[in-house]
Amino acid sequence: MENRPPEVDLNEVVVKYRPVVSFKVRKSLGARTPDWEDVVNEVITQVIEKVRKGEFRGDSSIGTFIYTITSRRIIDHIRQKTKVLRSVPEPVPIPDPCDDAESRERAKILAQAIQQLKPKFKEVLNLYYYQELTRDEVADRLGISPRRVSERINYAQKLLRKIIKT
């Protein structure tokens, strides 16, 4: 008896996975790459086509299936881009003003929240995220244990969430 492909709600897939695919594409290509959104749309289109064609057989999770398509499409895009860049100059990117304004506003709120943290939390964020020291290096610098460093980072994030909510 032939195995029937699992039922997939494509609407749900698109709603749930678009942000995940977007994140992976942005991380791989860089948020400043003007056509990252085109790549995301292509991935979503491919996912829908493949699911409709019955290529998703349920051997892996739908997440893994989409991850594989996303990774391949990114690699193809980079290869294609390299060829194009060799022959034609890159067009000037057109920024999306809404996206910029929104993310700028979010960043502004977050920055204000960081300013309100106690110096010991700011210091640990500075060393770990800004200066990109490892946990052990931060621990050495501050004269505390690496475990304590992790606790401070986690607690700083908890405080930020709290400040932003209020």
Binding site: F23, Y129, Q157, R161
Partner: protein, 217 residues
């Protein structure tokens, strides 16, 4: 709620510390784990903000910097032992002996000033005495303050260009008749004296002083 074992890799992934298989494994994981993905999005916003605005966010306030500021000499001396203090004292005394004892002996042998193209900028100057203001008739002598024995003076007289120059070991010189005849009433002149050591080294220069011979009535 038990935390996902991949959650501890979020920072490493965002800070590009995961490589190869570990990176792919983590990526595949967040395609399947909503909680990790949400946490990662939140952390990414934090890291992006810190990366963009860190220089401003973590800048120390100027006021607290000023309060903690200690002058460099204070920082250096605060760690001195009594023995080091003694060494510093001896060194300072030796320096004073050199400055006030030995250096004056060399004063006559080397120039002690720097000149720009035409004027004295600093160093020992030579004071001109006469003529230094307007005069009624053509002067017979030029006179300046002596700098001591064995000093040779070179005088130069200008009326726009060099009119006359001469050398002497005295602190005054008579103007030759030939030159006097070329100095007409109503004209403006300038003169300057340079002093040389017996070895021929320039040791002092006067400023250029102007004077005018009163016009004939």
């Amino acid at each position: 709620m038990k935390k996902c074992r991949f959650a501890s890799q979020i920072d490493d992934y965002l800070l590009d510390r995961l490589e190869g298989g570990a990176k792919e494994q983590f990526e595949e994981h967040y395609f399947n784990c909503v909680n990790c993905f949400r946490e990662m999005e939140e952390r990414d916003a934090l890291i992006s903000t810190i990366k963009l605005q860190g220089a401003r966010l973590f800048r120390e306030p100027a006021a607290s910097k000023r309060a903690d500021w200690v002058p460099a000499w204070k920082r250096a001396f605060s760690s001195f032992t009594p023995r080091q203090w003694a060494t510093v004292g001896v060194a300072a005394a030796a320096l004073l002996i050199v400055v006030f004892g030995a250096l004056p002996r060399f004063r006559g042998s080397s120039p002690q000033f720097v000149l720009s193209e035409t004027e004295v900028v600093r160093g020992e100057s030579l004071t001109l005495m006469s003529p230094i203001i307007d005069v009624r008739s053509v002067p017979n002598y030029f006179e300046w303050k002596s700098l001591g024995q064995d000093v040779e003076y070179k005088i130069s007289l200008y009326n726009g260009e060099l009119l006359w120059t001469a050398s002497t070991k005295e602190n005054r010189i008579q103007v030759p008749e030939e030159t006097r005849q070329r100095m007409q009433p109503g004209q403006r002149f300038a003169w300057q004296v340079r002093a040389f050591s017996p070895r021929g080294a320039l040791i002092a220069v006067s400023s250029k002083v102007q004077f005018q011979i009163a016009p004939a009535e």
